[in-house]
Amino acid sequence: MTTERDVQFRAYVEARRGQLVRTATFLAAGDHHAAEDLVQTALMRMYVAWPRVRSETVDAYARKALVNALIDTRRAAAHRFEQARAELPDIPAHDPPATETETTVFAALSALPARMRAAVILRHLCELSVTETAEALGCSEGTVKSQTSRGLTQLREALIADGVALAAPVGHDEPATARTS
């Protein structure tokens, strides 16, 4: 039986899944398999919560679900050596060829702690406000500012060291003196 939930959810996935995969690819620092896992986990949780998800905040809910999936994955990875499965993964993620710049950027992102990486990506890829990013990360705005500032500094240093030419930073950076909690 197809329910109204199914119809709405299917329409959402059809329209927004590509964008979610793009964000997840950055969150997973270029690991396409991990990105696909993040998206599948986030969408699964969204389906369960669908009656409580408001249409005007559904994208924010999806981003939060992605970030939570990333953080949960990092926690699980800390004590998981091997995962036995009775079945093969549902959908094999493809590995498109990466450009040299992509490889360098994702390597630099992978060096950032998960929450710091998420703060940088939500602010500078998704272009969320500090308030929206704090909501997605479940932390204070001060923490978003400090995490983003440190993340950007580390990212620029790594990219410049690898020979990536950056334009001069303008306007959108966080104050380096932001409080840390």
Binding site: E4, R10, V13, R45, Y47, P51, D90, E127, L152, A167
Partner: protein
């Protein structure tokens, strides 16, 4: 826009539109997770009901062994105590005079319970002292919900009549679930937790004092 935003945009990874199999896979995983969530919810309710009954048994047996209670209860066996405790702990309805919430009005509430929170599609009633006012958590709460617009039929259960409208009451591990159609066209589900120890008649009596107001909407999904 920052230099990093420019950089991120310039390396936009290849993200093709999802095909039908991918979308159906997402849907299937969601449905499976939803079934698991419902099962966990029923198990939690069942455990709570079993725990409440066990406490009743312990209290009744202790009263017998220590000579507590009246002479009449001292003459009765443990089985009688269990039945008497169960019946005595059913929570009666009392007139509600407090503030009404969005979406619904109620004439009566269980004694010692209050209107906790509401949305346009759900009203939750909790025991006084409960600090859980999360509108998305129904465990251990008396919950009134509008049905999804695409849900039809009364589901499983014993037939009852609510304000002249047909309904069904189903007992799921001690949780009573009443489904009926309100006069203004809304399908209504009312879930009574085991802690109330209600009969179907008591649940119907509560339902007959529930009124869906103009700002209620059908639940999604």
């Amino acid at each position: 826009m920052s230099d990093i935003t420019d950089l991120f945009r310039s390396i936009s990874p290849d993200t093709p539109e999802p095909d039908a199999a991918t979308i159906e896979g997402d849907l299937a995983r969601g449905r499976t997770a939803l079934v698991r969530a419902h099962r966990r919810s029923v198990v939690r309710r069942s455990v709570f009901a079993t725990g409440t009954l066990a406490v009743g048994v312990v209290v009744a047996v202790a009263a017998t062994q220590t000579g507590g209670g009246s002479a009449a209860t001292n003459d009765a066996g443990p089985a009688h105590h269990i039945k008497a405790h169960h019946a005595a702990s059913a929570v009666n309805l009392v007139a509600y005079t407090g503030k009404q919430l969005e979406g619904f009005t109620v004439d009566r509430v269980p004694a010692g319970w209050h209107l906790s929170t509401s949305t346009q599609y759900a009203l939750l009633v909790t025991a006084n002292g409960s600090t859980d006012d999360d509108p998305s958590v129904f465990v251990d709460k008396l919950a009134v919900l509008t049905s999804s617009a695409d849900e039809h039929g009364l589901g499983p259960g014993d037939p009852v009549t609510v304000n002249g409208q047909p309904g069904h009451v189903d007992n799921q591990a001690g949780t009573l679930i009443l489904r009926y159609n309100a006069p203004n066209g809304f399908g209504i589900d009312i879930q009574a937790p085991p802690a109330l120890h209600w009969t179907a008649d008591q649940l119907v009596s509560f339902a007959e004092g529930v009124h869906v107001t103009g700002d209620a909407v059908h639940a999604r999904g």
